[in-house]
Amino acid sequence: MPATVPLSWYLILSAILFGLGVAGFLFRRNIITVFMSIELMLNAVNLSFIAFSYQLKQVDGNIFALFVMVVAAAEAAVGLAIILTVFKNRATLTIDEVSTLKN
């Protein structure tokens, strides 16, 4: 049991989380869950950003992660508003049922 772990473990963890996010996107039917999977992917990316930031001993990675966070916030606001509207109009949250442009 080493006292410390190499940075690449963090990257692999981020990759795994990202894969989980993709999986969620692929296999879940609930729009909100899909949306949350996207958030998970963003988080994974953030992790790798910060890991690289550590590797390079520069704060830039953190800044990037911060920006990702901000964008995620904006995206969540708008996305959830869209979901609300969709639900208002179609009374469904199942992603396969909103596959047609006009109902």
Partner: protein, 619 residues
Amino acid sequence: MQHLWLIPALPLAGFLINGLLGKRLPNLVVSIIACASVLASFGWVLKTLAALGPLEAAYVESYFPWIQSGTFQVGFDLSVDRLTAVMLLVVTGIGSLIHIYAVGYMAHEGGYYRFFAYLNLFMFFMLILVLGANFLLMFVGWEGVGLCSYLLIGFYILKKSAGDAAKKAFIVNRIGDFGFTLAMFLIVVNFGTLDFQRVFDAVRPMPIEQSAGLLTAVALLLFVGAAGKSAQVPLYVWLPDAMEGPTPVSALIHAATMVTAGVYMVARAAVIYQRAPVAMDVVALIGLLTAVMAATIGITQNDIKRVFAYSTVSQLGYMFLACGVGAFSAGIYHVVTHAFFKALLFLGAGSVIHALEGEQDLTRMGGLWKKIPITFGVLACAWVAIAGIPPFAGFYSKDEILLAAHHHAPWMYWVGVITAAITSFYVSRAMFLCFFGSYRGHHDHPHESPFVMWGPLAVLALLSLIGGWYFKVPHYLETLLPMQNVGHDTTLVMISVGAGFAGLGLAALMYVVKPELPGRLAGALGGLYRLVYNKYLVDELYNAVLVRPLVGGSRSLLWRVMDAGLVDGAVNGVGTAARSVGGVLRLLQSGNIRSYAAWVTLGCVAVLVALGLAAGGVR
């Protein structure tokens, strides 16, 4: 640095202000802005000329490279030489007077701000035309004034005849512009530049072409343009119709400034013409023909403005005759004097029309001299000026031209003299019909125009009286446009003056002494009279020869076959092709987001494979 750009910029500013906010501004403000901008640019012209002094050589200010492709480049350059100086003074001076006049004349018209915005815009383009230091910039002004004349002829947007006249003017000018453009192409191809200085420097060493050659071609093409803009045969037909516009417009654009642009252009390109005698002869002949034709038509017209319009055409013919016989400075001289008295004639006519509340028919006037004495007085000045009575303005310039014509070919002189007689006849006729005899109209108590209108008239009257011997234009232009020294032959002068008096007398005889004579005369030579009265049926001729075939052809061939058949067919073909391809592709776009996601993932895998294995890893 004289800041020449201010000269056109000021009217442009006026145009922008009036055009953008004029609707909200009160008429007083609008007129103040318009007149102030033009007056300011007039003042700036004076200041600039004072600062530039004798102006032996052209003074050029180049601001920025405008068009640049390879070795060919056109700069946004303005230049002033003596020719430009004369034109600048005429344009801005007469322009300001007419602006002031228009304030009174348009007082009760709708679209007041629109009118002045257009007028300012015209001033801008005209000044660009005059100041431009290369053919292209000149062409910009050229097109601009064409546009403004279109807008102003069709100013009474509700009158169909106005709209038609505007379109006619525009289309006929197109033909002329076509020639101008071709000329520019020729110049670019052969000299690689459009800059006046460079082109003329390139031309000067060239020999005089005995037969047609490059310079002849350029000169002729340029003259096509000039003919279009300056209403020469065969493109003069638009100018009489242009009288549909408000009278100040007729005075400013269709008498004083724009229509003389052609003359200015020919004079500007004098270096080229002097080396293309063939073209010179063509110019002279066309000019002469125009002069005669328009003058004869002028005799028979009854609409006062039309009479003056035809007189303008024939005077323009004179100017081209001057250029054609090599007396360019005489042509410009006539441009100046003509600007004075023709503007005055039109404005006076406007004043008369204003007094009669829009009555333009000579047969319904008469005996007005005691009703509107001031107008009669100023018009009388213009009358003597145009009739060529010494020592008034018209006499000097016409005299110069005729002498030059005689020196070139005596028969031209004689034709010119006859035309002069006709000119003086029809102007006198108009004057007699308008002011003498008994009042034939049924509109009672005509009223004199306000000061704001007859003030400018007075100034112009003074100019057309003394302008001739006061402004020695040919002497001023000597260095720029040398004219072969023609001996001052007194007999010839006497003859032309006599012709002027003869025309006047004949008119007096026919329209004052025995008013029934004209009717009998017309009856006697009926066919000829009718032909002339109908303007030699030129419009009808053009209609039959050009317009109908064009319309028919475009209807049958261009529309049915080309457009409907080929173009639409191609478009529809593309459409159907895209539709069929899309029909296949849309299977991909199921609208099922998760399958999209799957595709994206596949793409990522592909990228990674490319990155990691093919490219040998992230480096």
